[in-house]
């Protein structure tokens, strides 16, 4: 396909420095209307920073941004005027407001004049046209991450007639079907002559829809490949991870050991769990996870994943039923008892559930049951730090320096720290909610390797994910959240992703 005229948006030698750190180094890229341009790279490669410059959130140290061949000093207001819309990785939504209210807040005055009913109608139209289902009157705090993202996308699309839409990790929280629909939407946008910039870790998606792929590494554009030249997944992975050509991919296969003595480590029987509004989101839900077993939990987001894990971890009381850990009844026990019995929880949103403002990474390990020695009335912090620094998991996962403030870390780095502290304990039961969200391919593979290692050592792992590939690759057995309950276990070798998808949707019908 020949490029027509000049690009809608072009960056020329864009460089940005944070103190001594060069986040983007002489980045020159072009975004054309009617084309999908994907940017791939590791965590910290500078993708999000670059996009934030395009949107005017950050200002480049040097270099230029051109829109329609004219140099522009970008600010978010100008970006909006020029028709540049951005769907942020961390959603800019106010939890206390409804979807409609959040969208209305972002709209220009001219559009607000239409009134609530008209806007609501428009939301419904877009939502139907692109198959992005949202309930405009639902409060954001009631929504899970998938639903929040749909609101965010619609919000950006409502803000004006978009010329360039930037998506930062858009599908990381979507289900297979939703992700498919999302990609179709991207193509729809492209056909409507909109320029699309897509940042994602999911190479399959990149390969499926992109017209152009640029690889960013250490802030520099390593290469830009056009569709006509042909995309090669293996080569792309190598480029992203900095593996020189000819060298073999560093990824090791995961060896699953046969576990000899299997016994039930986590037994949930006939649970009834209520959601925030007191409605029973799960009924007659039973689930057993054996030692040395990874049970994958598939399901459309918001079908009780969060409630299920929080109940098992004791953050939430269950209305009926029993929970046993290693054959001991824990139904009425506190979270701290469960932690002490060897349970670890990787929450779906560690920033919300784990990060304490003003505390070092080191301190956060103590919060998840890594108990340091006592020294007087205090903990022996020095010794803890030494112990942690020598831990393999801390090194393998590339946890940043332990005395850094946790709240200043990026989402991916927070995830690394949270995973390391869970793995260190070699937990009896590990509840892992979206463990590789926000991680680059390399780290995600390390995480999967660690999960298999823990499994081989006898941990019982409950893995919640909406990524079908992950569920099928990792699980010894799969259950589906559907029809307000949990299905029986399925053997991943005897069932197809398509059948699992059918079961998930079976749950959606009964709403």
């Amino acid at each position: 396909m020949a490029r027509k005229y000049f690009p809608f948006l072009e960056t020329v030698d864009l460089t940005i420095k944070f103190k001594d750190f060069v986040a983007n180094d002489a980045v020159s890229l072009q975004f054309y209307k009617g084309f999908i341009h994907s940017i791939v790279g590791e965590n910290g490669a500078g993708k999000s920073t670059l996009m934030k410059m395009l949107y005017g959130v950050y200002h480049p140290t040097s270099g230029k941004i051109k829109v329609d061949n004219q140099v522009v000093e970008m600010t978010p207001t100008i970006a909006m005027e020029k028709g540049i819309g951005m769907v942020f990785q961390d959603f800019r939504l106010i939890p206390a407001f409804t979807a409609l209210e959040n969208i209305m807040m972002a709209l220009p005055k001219s559009k607000l004049k239409l009134g609530r009913a008209e806007i609501c109608k428009e939301i419904k139209e877009i939502s139907e046209k692109y198959k992005i289902a949202i309930d405009p009157d639902m409060y954001v705090w009631e929504m899970d991450l998938g639903q929040r993202q749909r609101v965010e996308i619609i919000k950006v699309m409502m803000m004006g007639k978009p010329e360039l839409l930037i998506f930062d990790e858009p599908t990381s929280v979507l289900t297979v079907h939703e992700a498919q629909a999302f990609l179709e939407m991207l193509v729809e946008l492209k056909n409507n002559n909109i320029a699309v910039a897509l940042i994602t870790h999911k190479l399959n998606e990149v390969l499926a829809v992109s017209d152009t792929i640029s690889v960013l590494r250490h802030g520099k554009v390593k290469c830009t490949i056009e569709k006509e030249e042909g995309f090669d997944k293996e080569k792309l992975v190598g480029l992203i991870m900095g593996v020189e050509e000819g060298e073999k991919n560093t990824v090791k296969s995961f060896d699953r050991l046969e576990i000899k003595e299997v016994h039930p480590m986590l037994e949930c029987k006939d649970m009834r769990i209520k959601d925030e509004h007191g409605r029973s989101i799960l009924k007659h839900a039973s689930l057993t996870v054996n030692s040395g077993e990874i049970v994958g939990v598939a399901g459309i987001s918001g079908r009780g994943q969060r409630e299920l894990l929080e109940s098992i971890f004791g953050l939430k009381d269950i209305a009926e039923g029993t929970i046993k850990i290693d054959s001991v009844d824990f139904t009425d026990k506190e979270t701290i008892d469960r932690i002490n019995s060897g349970m670890s929880f990787i929450s779906e949103d560690p920033k919300r559930d784990n990060v304490v403002e003003g505390m070092e990474i080191r301190d956060h390990f103590v919060l998840a049951g890594v108990t340091p020695d006592s020294k007087g009335l205090d903990y022996d912090w020095k010794k803890l730090q030494q112990n942690l620094e020598s831990e393999d998991y801390v090194k393998d996962l590339g946890v940043p320096q332990l005395n850094r403030q946790m709240s200043t870390l990026s989402g991916g780095n927070i995830q690394r720290a949270v995973l390391a502290r869970a793995a260190i304990r070699r937990p009896k039961v590990l509840l892992a909610s979206y463990p590789i969200r926000g991680l680059d391919i390399g780290t995600a593979q390390t995480v999967h390797r660690i999960l298999i290692q823990l499994r081989n050592q006898g941990s019982a792992i409950l893995l919640v994910s909406e990524d079908m590939d992950e569920i099928f690759e990792m699980s010894d057995s799969i259950v589906v959240l559907s029809n307000n309950s949990i299905t029986e276990k399925f053997d991943p070798k005897k069932i197809t992703p398509y059948e699992i998808g059918e079961l998930m949707i079976g749950g959606a019908k009964d709403e």
Binding site: L315, I336, N340, V356, G358, M359, V366, S374, D378
Partner: protein, 342 residues
């Protein structure tokens, strides 16, 4: 690295002092508008307070309750609560102390009597703080509102007692309690200054140690920083909060005991009124840092002691002191805006 850090805290200290100077300049403008000479007024304030033993004694004596009440408040803040209740807890602490001093321990020897009174005073404050704590953790009632309301209630309780069972039969029907016996007075250090200041500084050191160097202090920091994270860490958020309310109350109650046994000797309806609010302000001026709140408590004490001079030497209205205090407070809060207590 560490030099950089030192410079940073030095800068903070300097800017903090700078804000106080700015406050005095603004108040100087106010004095000019009132037709008074600001330089002369400030000279009077400093001379009357800092150049003679009586002034210094007054300054120290008045600092004690402010120090204790500020430190008490900062404990609650460290558990993520905005507790304005030290006023009421101080009142109840005084009430418990005077009641025990006049009806139970009248004939006890000094040391034993004072120790028991300290315990009783702390118990009173702790109980009153505990009630607000229960409201918070059991009924999820906002502690700021409940404590303000309970402050008013405490005035009425004190009035009831002072007009009733506490009233001095030889007091010419004035609403005040009987004087406590001399044996139950706090020992003096020098002049009129009693050992209350030493107790207060000890409490500051203890609270600082407790907040920064113990496991419970660590838990409080988590609860304050992110209650959600605390729940995920298996920390009983309600327990920590309740404990903080009780501890705040106990220290406020101790301040009440020191006031009764060290300064006042008897309870009137207006004894120590508004001390709690000033202590609360001292805590927030010090960004809820227990050590820094010693400084802010002394400043508030200085303003309230030296402010009287303005009234009789410079012919200014009595409320001028309060205006000066508000300006100083706002100036410091301005400097601290957006800053998290650390």
């Amino acid at each position: 690295m560490s030099r950089l850090k030192n410079n940073k805290s030095l800068m903070q200290a300097l800017s903090w002092i700078g804000m106080i100077i700015i406050a005095f300049i603004i108040f100087g403008i106010f004095l000019l508008m009132q037709g008074a000479n600001p330089l002369e007024a400030y000279k009077n304030m400093f001379e009357s307070t800092l150049t003679n033993q009586i002034g210094i004694s007054k300054l120290i004596l008045k600092s004690v309750p402010f120090i204790l009440l500020a430190v008490a408040t900062s404990i609650s803040t460290r558990a993520g609560l905005v507790n304005v209740g030290v006023e009421g807890q101080l009142m109840i602490g005084m009430l418990f102390t005077i009641t025990a001093a006049n009806f139970l321990f009248t004939s006890l020897p000094t040391v034993l009597g004072l120790i028991l009174l300290a315990i009783v005073g702390m118990l009173g404050g702790a109980l009153y703080g505990g009630v607000a704590g229960l409201f918070r953790v059991k009924a999820n009632m906002n502690e700021t509102i409940t404590t303000v309301v309970m402050n008013y209630i405490s005035y009425f309780i004190v009035s009831l007692a002072v007009y009733g069972y506490l009233r001095d039969p030889e007091g010419f029907n004035w609403p005040m309690s009987t004087q406590i016996s001399d044996s139950l007075t706090l020992p003096k250090l020098f002049g009129t200054v009693n050992i209350g200041i030493i107790i207060a500084l000890l409490v500051v050191a203890l609270v600082w140690y407790f907040i920064n160097k113990t496991k419970t202090g660590f838990k409080m920091k988590v609860v304050c920083g992110n209650p959600n994270a605390a729940k995920n860490a298996g920390i009983n958020v309600n327990k920590v909060r309740f404990f903080a309310m009780v501890a705040t109350g106990a220290i406020a109650g101790l301040a009440g005991m020191i006031e009764i046994c060290g300064v006042e000797g008897r309870l009137r309806t207006t004894t120590c009124q508004d001390y709690g609010y000033l202590g609360f302000l001292a805590a927030w001026m010090a960004w809820n840092n227990p050590v820094l709140s010693v400084a802010t408590a002394v400043i508030i004490s200085f303003l309230s002691v030296s402010g009287n001079v303005l009234e009789f030497k410079n012919n200014l209205p009595a409320s001028s002191t309060q205006i000066l205090m508000s300006i100083v407070l706002l100036a410091i809060m301005w400097r601290g805006k957006g800053r998290k207590e650390s």
